[in-house]
Symmetry: C2
Subunit: 155 residues, 2 copies
């Protein structure tokens, strides 16, 4: 039985949930690195003062949210359900509100249940505003199945 | 001229801004570690599905936001305006929605303009759900003054 893709269902995920009235409603496209065959995800970001930190700039926590969400989206093409265990964020330049930005994440490596991902928030010209590295732990499929309700499992 | 306390003004900060209709509206209390005299901040957290990640739990990015916001609040008692440069988050246990949680941050050390802080999200019984260490860089007061509008500078 294929694992349900929770992160693609209409739900309340703050990052991507279609039914969350206050969510970021991120929409990711998937690709593959032509050299390494590693999965890549991208999303366009364009935020307002609803997510402000310093005046005129995105809140550092929201930047972390964007990077975490992008990295989490790499788990699906890797056919895993995984949770963030560790994330390290470098804030390189202030990330402006009211401008289109690019969110991109790539899978780096895997050791057993440990998945290493990287994500960047970039200006449209490719300038890196923030970068994160994340360690995700793949969940045991049996644990996932036990946690699902019958309704969820039928999706 | 005293530095304006931007983070205390009614503004749109996603973490603490009173005028942000979709913000977290965190309210911090300040204290001092009785042994080290280091500043400490605390806030109560009680989130709903508006900030959901995995079903029933707080989004990992929102957890990072809570921890970043708490650490940033240590800059005021240290009489600095500082920006997050690096943050490392350890996600130790899932952090539940619909339950009261405790957010606490403490200042660890300072080397010139580098401020080292730590924050934790805890259950009411003290169980640590997530922990972050943050490196903040104090801004040059001249740079802050140049960036302020006359209206902001008059506050």
């Amino acid at each position: 039985m294929p694992q349900p893709m929770r992160d693609e269902q209409p739900h309340h995920c703050f990052g991507c949930g279609a039914t969350n009235p206050q969510g970021l409603h991120l929409h990711f496209t998937h690709a593959t690195d032509p050299t390494t065959s590693a999965p890549i995800v991208r999303a366009e970001v364009h935020l307002t003062r609803l997510h402000e930190g310093p005046p005129g700039y995105i809140h550092g926590g929201i930047i972390a949210t964007l990077l975490d969400e992008a990295m989490s989206k790499l788990n699906r093409p890797l056919e895993t359900v995984a949770m963030t265990r560790h994330m390290a964020v470098d804030y390189l330049r202030p990330a402006p509100l009211h401008q289109p930005l690019v969110l991109v994440a790539v899978h780096l490596s895997r050791e057993g249940r440990k998945l290493h991902h990287q994500a960047e928030l970039q200006s449209p010209d490719g300038t890196i505003l923030a970068r994160a590295k994340g360690l995700f732990i793949a969940l045991d499929p049996a644990v996932i199945a036990a946690a699902l309700t019958p309704e969820q499992a039928s999706h």
